[in-house]
Each structure stands twice: as structure tokens, then as C-alpha cells.
């Protein structure tokens, strides 16, 4: 098979996958008797048409950058971390414990401590599957799935029996102290010109963008990243080069779990300001779609996270203003994962054939 030009492989393949997902989504909408055009308009209007919409779009984007980076980090080590969901929820636990432990005097201190707490708890939840993969060869995909469910059970237990304040009925922790309140974009000078009313997007967005840079630097500028990528491409070769598989699996998964956990400073600390059940709301899974869509590169991840932020906010608006169920966004999510992750060979074959046609035409003309 002819190879695709590099630019096509990097940019065109995901775009065509996205296009295919969009076409199928439109067909789905038509088949349930809805207008795709109208749905798209509602989504664009609701997600991008106002400062309010952007406030939510960017809020979701922030979460998805973290989980997308988490999946990316593990992917480069050849590990498919489906456990972002559980790691994010445990990260939320870390955030809650930090925020509730002290009457924080200033949000910067609280943020630093909570970030650490989130990363440590998320990483810890990834550590056991990582260890089992590294030392005992237990398939990480299965163990991380199991750990998602175990995480959910742990949180139910803690929220119902331990963290729930007396007299409260819903399973949630107490509200965090005032000092742990993160500035939202509407309170940040400069941004408040655009965001005039309270929005959930908060300073965590900048941490997410910074993490994208950090992940990029780790993967492509450090020895650790070099080893992670080499190990991910070929385990036997990595052994030849003296790369320690146990070390790489552990470090890559701890970083991945830490990143997934860190999304909780956005939703738990920045938005809900208390720990709720199922706080991550599937963002761990969306991270898979984001990473695939973003071709496992931090720049791609940020762009894909923005796309999914749009999709999520737009989808919520659909649920609000149209009779299209909010589940539409799960359908789109599934389609994007399917086309970018599982049917990528099909897309590539399609493109290669089209390129082949162009090439032979050129030859014919010459």
C-alpha cells in the first residue's frame, strides 16, 4: 500500500474521520425525525454564540484536556488506559480531602495543594493496574475497567458513610471553604470584559494548557519521554536498549493517572465546590476520544478537547431547547471513537485510494 503524505496522515485522516462521524450523526438525526441543520445551529449558538456558552464550552474543554492528555501519555507507552474515569473520581477525592482539611487562607495555596492531592490520588488509583501490568502481565485494559467500577463503589461508600455531613440527604461532601474558591473567568481581569456573568470556566483552564506543554516537553524533549515512546513502539527493542519496562509502565501510568486526577480541580474545586457522586461525568472516557482525535499529540488534544467541549455544551443545549435527547452527544462521541480509533485503517485506505487516483491522473497528464 502506498503511504500517505505526512500532512495528510496528521491532519486529513482525523478530519475525514470527523466528517464521517458528522455525516452518520446527521443521518441519525434525520432518522429520528430531526433536522441536523437546526440541531447544529442550536449547538453552535448555545456553545459558541454567547459568553455564557463559551464559559461552559471552555469549562468542559478544560476537563477534556486533562483526560485526553492522560490517555495520550499512556498511549505513547503502548498502554490503553481506560481507567481515566476512576482515576478522575479518585482525584476528586484528593481535591475534597485537601480542600476540607484546612480553612484555606487564599485560593492559590488551596489550588497548589489540591492539584497535588488530585494528582497523587489519581496516580495512586492507576498504580495498582500499572503494577499488575508491569509485574504480572495482567491486561491493563481489563484491570482499569475493573478499577473504574471499584472507584465508583469506593466513592459511594465514602460519600454516603464518611464524607456526607450530618443532616444532608444527597451523597456529597460538605461544601469547600470560601478560601478554596477558584477564580472563574468572569473574575479575572481582562477576561471579565468578555465574561460578565458567572461562568464555570476557571483558572484551571490555564493549568490544563500548561499541562499540555508539559506533556509535550516530557514526551519529545526528555529522556524519560524518549524511553516511554520507544517502549510504546517496541517492547523487545526497548529491552535491548536497556529501558526498564517496569519503570516505564509505572511512570507512564502514574503520569497518566495523575493527569486524569487533575481534571478534578476543574470540576470538583472550580465548579461544584464539593465532591459529588460520579463527579467526572464520563470525562475519563471522553479522554479516549480526545486522544484519538488529537492523534496523541498535545496540540491535537487541546484542539480535540475544544471540539468535545463544544459538543458537550452544544449537546446540553440540544437537550434544553430541542426535543433531541441529550444522549445525542454520546452517539457522536461513540462515532468519533469508532472512526478515529477503530476504523482508522478504513479511512486511511480510502484516502490512499483517492491520492492514488490523483497521482495516476498526474502521471497520465504528464
Amino acid at each position: 500500500m502506498d503511504r500517505l503524505p505526512r500532512w495528510a496522515d496528521v491532519a486529513l485522516v482525523p478530519l475525514v474521520s470527523l466528517l464521517l462521524a458528522a455525516i452518520i450523526s446527521a443521518l441519525v438525526l434525520l432518522s429520528i425525525g430531526q433536522s441536523p441543520v437546526e440541531a447544529f445551529n442550536v449547538m453552535v449558538d448555545g456553545a459558541l454564540g454567547s459568553a455564557y456558552g463559551w464559559g461552559y464550552t471552555l469549562y468542559y474543554t478544560t476537563s477534556f484536556i486533562f483526560t485526553g492528555l492522560a490517555v495520550t501519555m499512556a498511549f505513547h507507552a503502548g498502554l490503553f488506559n481506560i481507567g481515566g474515569e476512576g482515576q478522575a473520581q479518585l482525584g476528586g477525592l484528593g481535591v475534597a480531602l485537601v480542600c476540607l482539611s484546612l480553612p484555606w487562607p487564599h485560593w492559590t495555596l488551596a489550588l497548589a495543594a489540591a492539584t497535588l492531592g488530585a494528582a497523587v490520588f489519581g496516580a495512586a488509583w492507576a498504580a495498582i493496574p500499572a503494577y499488575l501490568q508491569a509485574k504480572r502481565g495482567s491486561h491493563i485494559v481489563i484491570t482499569t475497567i475493573m478499577f473504574n467500577y471499584i472507584a465508583a463503589a469506593v466513592l459511594v461508600y465514602l460519600l454516603v458513610d464518611v464524607l456526607r455531613p450530618a443532616g444532608q440527604m444527597d451523597p456529597a461532601s460538605a461544601r469547600f471553604p470560601e478560601g478554596a474558591k477558584l477564580p472563574t473567568l468572569d473574575t479575572i481581569p481582562g477576561f471579565n470584559l468578555v465574561f460578565q456573568k458567572a461562568v464555570p470556566a476557571n483558572v484551571t483552564l490555564f493549568i490544563a494548557l500548561a499541562m499540555a506543554v508539559v506533556v509535550w516537553a516530557i514526551l519529545w524533549r526528555t529522556r524519560l519521554g524518549y524511553q516511554i515512546r520507544a517502549f510504546g513502539k517496541s517492547e523487545p527493542a526497548a529491552r535491548y536498549a536497556g529501558i526498564n519496562p517496569v519503570y516505564i509502565i509505572m511512570v507512564a501510568m502514574l503520569l497518566s493517572g495523575g493527569l486524569a486526577g487533575m481534571m478534578s480541580i476543574n470540576n470538583v474545586m472550580g465548579e461544584a465546590e464539593r465532591l459529588l457522586q460520579n463527579s467526572s461525568e464520563g470525562a475519563g472516557f471522553i479522554g479516549i476520544a480526545v486522544a484519538l482525535m488529537g492523534r496523541n499529540h498535545p496540540i491535537g488534544v487541546v484542539l480535540a478537547a475544544l471540539l468535545f467541549g463544544f459538543l458537550y455544551q452544544g449537546g446540553a443545549e440540544l437537550g434544553l431547547w430541542t426535543s433531541i435527547p441529550i444522549e445525542m452527544r454520546i452517539v457522536v462521541q461513540g462515532l468519533v471513537i469508532l472512526f478515529t480509533g477503530a476504523l482508522d485503517v478504513m479511512v486511511r485506505m480510502l484516502l490512499t485510494r483517492i491520492f492514488g487516483l490523483f497521482r495516476s491522473q498526474k502521471l497520465g497528464a504528464a
Binding site: 454516603v160 444532608q168 444527597d170 458567572a198
Partner: protein
Amino acid sequence: EPAIIFDLGGKFDKSFNEAAFNGAEKWAKETGGTYKELEMQSEAQREQALRRLAESGANPVVMTGFAFGDVLNTVAPDFPDTKFAIIDMVVEQPNVKSVVFTEHEGSYLVGMMAGLASKTGTVGFIGGMDIPLIRRFGCGYAQGVVAANPDAKVVLNMTGTTPAAWNDPVKGAELAKGQKAQGADVIYAAAGGTGVGVLQAAADEGILSIGVDSNQNGMHPGMVLTSMLKRVDVAVYNAFMEGTDLAPGINVLDLKAEGVGYAMDENNASLVTPEMQAAVDAAAEKIKAGELVVHDYMSDNTCPAATF
């Protein structure tokens, strides 16, 4: 334009949320007005839903379920010009109306009915999420059962400890079958969408059930003894009617105010004898008159007739 937010379980749960939906529909039909609606998909969305509706200019915004209490407390001050109404929870904000019901009273009445209808002397109660509010149902029910039949046994189960317990018909059905195995021949479900499974299993097993919130007698005609009505529909209807003039404060809808009660219709006419009805109605009158006080679990977290 008013708006309503349904809790997890959805507006077609045949029970709590559906009652609210019916109230809204009734308002729409009578006034010809339109309203906005939104169904919760997950815990973490509540605040966004609330803000979005307030932001969009909806007024008043009505929400069903105690779980909105916390977020409403933070959202309401941000929208001082919007009126909010919350059902099943007290939120003390100047622009919030809190509607609560005396579920123990209604449950007492259906408990009596169960006690009178039971042939085995054992009746069941299946709650949704294990919270004081639902224990209030169970406790009132148990008191009613014992009042009708002092020797009766009440089997109590809760479906779970999280909001998922509102929407788990499979668990509800299994619990009902389990209670039947323990001898129960009337089962009261106070469990939202989970109750659908309870009523189904009871019908399958050939025993009676008692519905909740909405009139569920028609779901299995001849198999549902009665339903404990909790007039969420009235609460929603009233809130929509009041519109932007919604009066803040706490609004207790009790038996006297017809906020709770039990359902009689052609579906259960054959199940309820005139004597049963007379006995229950007599008790209802006493409660309204204040001669009979049904203990409220939430007042001191204890129950004289049952242990949870």
C-alpha cells in the same frame, strides 16, 4: 415563561417526576402557556441546568427533588430577580419557595389500607434511596399498618444509597420478590422509577402493591391496592399559576391541605371494601382535626413502629 427541572429518573417515571410533569401540563392546557423543561442526566449537571434556565429568562424555575437544595442555595443569590420553587427541600433564600409534604400522613393512610387488606399479616415497604425523607414514608406507613392490625409485621427494604436507587426497576422487582418470599402480600413502593419494577413484580407474583406520588392504580388494574398521592402536580401547578409573583417561604402541603392522600378509582374499586375505606377515611379526619398525630421520622430520626 416558567420552567421545570425534573430530577434523575426522568419525567416519565410514572411517579414523582411524572406528577410534576402532569401539573405543568395541566397548567399549560388551562392557560395555553408554554414552559421550558429539562431532565437531569447526572448529579454534576444540576448547577448548569439551574443557571441555564435562570439565564434564559425563565421565571419561575421549579425543581423537583431534595437534591437541588445545595446548588439552589448558591444559584438563587446570583439571580435575585428570578423566582425559584423547590419541592421536598427547604431552602432559605429570599427568592425561593420551598414546598414540602407531610408524606408520613399519606403513608399512614395507605399503611392502614395495607394492614386491612393483608391476609398474611405481613406487608412490605420498598424505599428508593435510603435518606430520612424516604424513612418518613416508611415510618408513617408502618404506623398505619400497626394501627389497622397490631399483630402485623412490616418488612422494610431500601433500594440503595445513591440517586441511582430512584431508577432501578430490576432491583425493585427482586426486592419485591424477596418480600413476597418473606410472606408479604401487600407492598408499598416509595422509590420513584424503581417502583415500576416493584409493582410489576407484585403483579407477576399475584400480590398487591401500593403506588406512590402519582395515581399508579392503573398500571396493573386490580393489582394495585391504592396509591399514596403526593400532589407534586398541585405544587407545580400552583407555582406556575403564581408565576413571577411566586411567594417565597416554606409551604407545607399536608393532609388537610390535600397535599397528600390516597387514590381511589375504578382500577382498585374491587380491592377496597367500603369498610376499609370508612376506616381509613375516619383516620384521615382525625389527622386533619389534629386528634391523631402521625410521628414524623424527620423530626427526631426515630420511628416508633419500625426500625430501619
